[in-house]
Amino acid sequence: MSGLRAPGTTVMEAQRVTVQDVETAAGRLQGHARETPVLTCGTLDELAGRRLYFKCENLQKSGSFKFRGAYNAISKLVSSTNQKPPPVVTHSSGNHACALALAAHQLDVTAHVVMPRNAPQCKKETVRGYGGKVYECTPTEQARVETMERIAAEEGAVYLSSSQHPDIIAGQGTMGLELLRQVPDLDAVITCVGGGGMLAGVSTVMKSLNPHVRVYGAEPEQANDAATSLAKGERCPLPYYPDTIADGLRINMGPVAWPYIRDNVDDIITVTEEEIKNAMTLIWQRMKLVVEPSGVVGVAAALSDSFKAREETAKHVAVILSGGNLDLLKLPDLLSMSEHV
């Protein structure tokens, strides 16, 4: 953490998010983002062999934790100028799109959202419902980026990445601050990892304020770039777009989030599609919560043999349920046929 740059690091590391940035973010979010509840469930405790504390970000504004980062970033943008703030732009088919649109609406900023043509209709409608302007494009990474860059230039809009912007990472880190207040004697935290913004932010908080708390990422086996990267000590993005029901976690862990994860995370647990479906059934059936598949990957990790082997004595483990935005009509395909109790 000194000023020296290790080989392989980039200049972006100089803008490393600190716990002070997260605390400032918490101040901006107060009264706007929810301090979501932490819920427990006896049945899941039995299955896990310890007390699990579920941070319910499915109950967050716009239906996922992404609202935190989006609101922090836009709020900072607004207060950084006396002029009318610029519009913001992003490309996303998922929760970041909805979060950005809602946060922008609340801060009276225009949001331009580039969404692939095949993005779920409900997400496009949600973004429009929040006042965001939707631009559809062909469903390729290249088209998304090109369209986004064109809109940014045309509209003078600021690009806000879903996970690689420091203000986004700082916003996501606020969950760590809340967890330290809400869960006494916290031993470990598990968060799912896609781009890595949440894991970067939360792990920064833990290692700064309470270093004895172990921090784990949770990832689908079929999209295990973060796990592979951590094992190898260098970022290993997947060269293809992986298939998993945890659609929010298909993207690779990004270059900005990687150094945080490399330095702060104890391990990344990977889980099978079946384990994810089993976790879905448990959460919907036992906890009566609407959580999307990406959102239960942390639960699957907590129940996995590899986590149990790693953390034999941990008594209090927090798991972040990252979001609850999904098409209800697709639910039958996302549950396991019988509960593996």
Binding site: G42, L59, T281, L289, V290, G324, L328, L335
Partner: protein, 334 residues
């Protein structure tokens, strides 16, 4: 609206006592809000999330209170196996099973032989012993009586038992700690156990708050009874997606409802389905159709026309979340 000096089968003191009895066992469930639903209803809505209660419904409160009474009344008695019996295939069955299990009591659950497997599994998972009966009202009652006779088990009626009614009323204490000013409480009604318990508690703790019952139009015995001033049970088993609200209000719950409830709002099956989907999608909570009845009620024209200043802060009870995830009302095969 209550007549002075009238005595009901439960008193406020019963509910107060029930609170300390059930406290070690039940969850103090959260109250949640949703800006989107507030905009739709044009009110401040406060949802008491009893779908998050142990066993997935508020019924656990009443069951705990009833089972505790059995344990307490045997305190100085011989050291024998205590048991309770009930006839129910739904939320009450699960609630009684777990309430008994945690207090070291045996629970005999009389269920129709054609009950869905998922309901039988749920009861078994909480330690309930299933006794099957024919799928008729008569057989349920007779079988329960036989079990009581054979085992000495105490009967715990799903909604007419005073201990059950008092247990359900305990949620009012929590609500008043969680919501600053309660103008109205909207309560789904089946047999009336929850509505009665809440009414008696609210009368004492927040007497200015209006009490509204919410009921499926297809099972509107409470609405009809209130209109006629006389208890009028449904003439035939109702057809509604609200499994838990098919019972008619009973002789013990009726007088309390008659004297305390300001009005009954009935809703159609379509309104219930829409409200259920709204809560799942916007609040990310799994609620069963019976829970959606209260939500549907506050969206009706009838409720909207109520004077705004007297109905700003409205508490809606989300009474349960036990659904068969493979057979949801909006899936096309239904």
């Amino acid at each position: 609206m209550a007549s002075a000096g009238k005595s009901y089968c439960i008193s406020f003191q019963n509910i107060q006592a029930a609170l300390s009895t059930v406290k070690p066992f039940v969850k103090k469930t959260p109250v949640m809000t949703c800006s989107h639903l507030n905009r739709l209803a044009n009110r401040n809505l406060f949802f008491k999330c009893e779908n998050l209660q142990k066993t997935g419904s508020f019924k656990f409160r009443g069951a705990c209170n009833a089972v505790s009474k059995v344990v307490a009344s045997n305190q100085d008695g011989p050291d024998r196996e205590l048991s309770v019996v009930t006839h129910s295939s739904g939320n009450h069955a699960q609630a009684v099973s777990l309430a008994a299990q945690v207090q070291g009591v045996t629970a005999h659950i009389v269920m129709p032989s054609n009950s869905p497997a998922v309901k039988k599994e749920a009861v078994k998972s909480y330690g309930g012993l299933i006794v099957e009966c024919e799928p008729t009202e008569q057989s349920r009652v007779d079988t329960a009586d036989q079990v009581a006779e054979k085992t000495g088990a105490t009967m715990v009626h799903p909604n007419q038992s005073p201990e059950v009614m008092a247990g359900q009323g305990t949620m009012v204490f929590e609500i008043l700690e969680q919501v600053e000013r309660v103008d109205a409480i909207v309560v789904p009604v089946g047999g009336g156990g929850m509505l009665s318990g809440i009414s008696v508690a609210a009368k004492e703790l927040c007497p200015h708050a209006k009490i509204y019952a919410a009921e499926p139009k297809n099972a509107d015995d409470c609405a009809v009874s209130m209109a006629r001033g006389e208890r009028t049970p449904l003439p035939a088993p109702p057809v509604t997606m609200c499994d838990a609200l098919k019972t008619s209000i009973g002789p013990r719950t009726w007088p309390i409802i008659r004297d305390h409830v300001d009005d009954v709002i009935t809703v159609t099956e379509e309104e219930i389905k829409a409200a259920m989907r709204l809560v799942w999608e916007r609040m990310k909570l799994v609620i069963e159709p019976s829970s959606a009845v209260g939500v549907a009620a506050v969206m009706t024209d009838k409720f909207r026309k109520l004077p705004a200043n007297a109905h700003q802060n409205v508490v809606v009870i989300l009474c349960g979340g036990n659904v068969d995830l493979e057979h949801l009302p909006w899936m096309s095969q239904n």
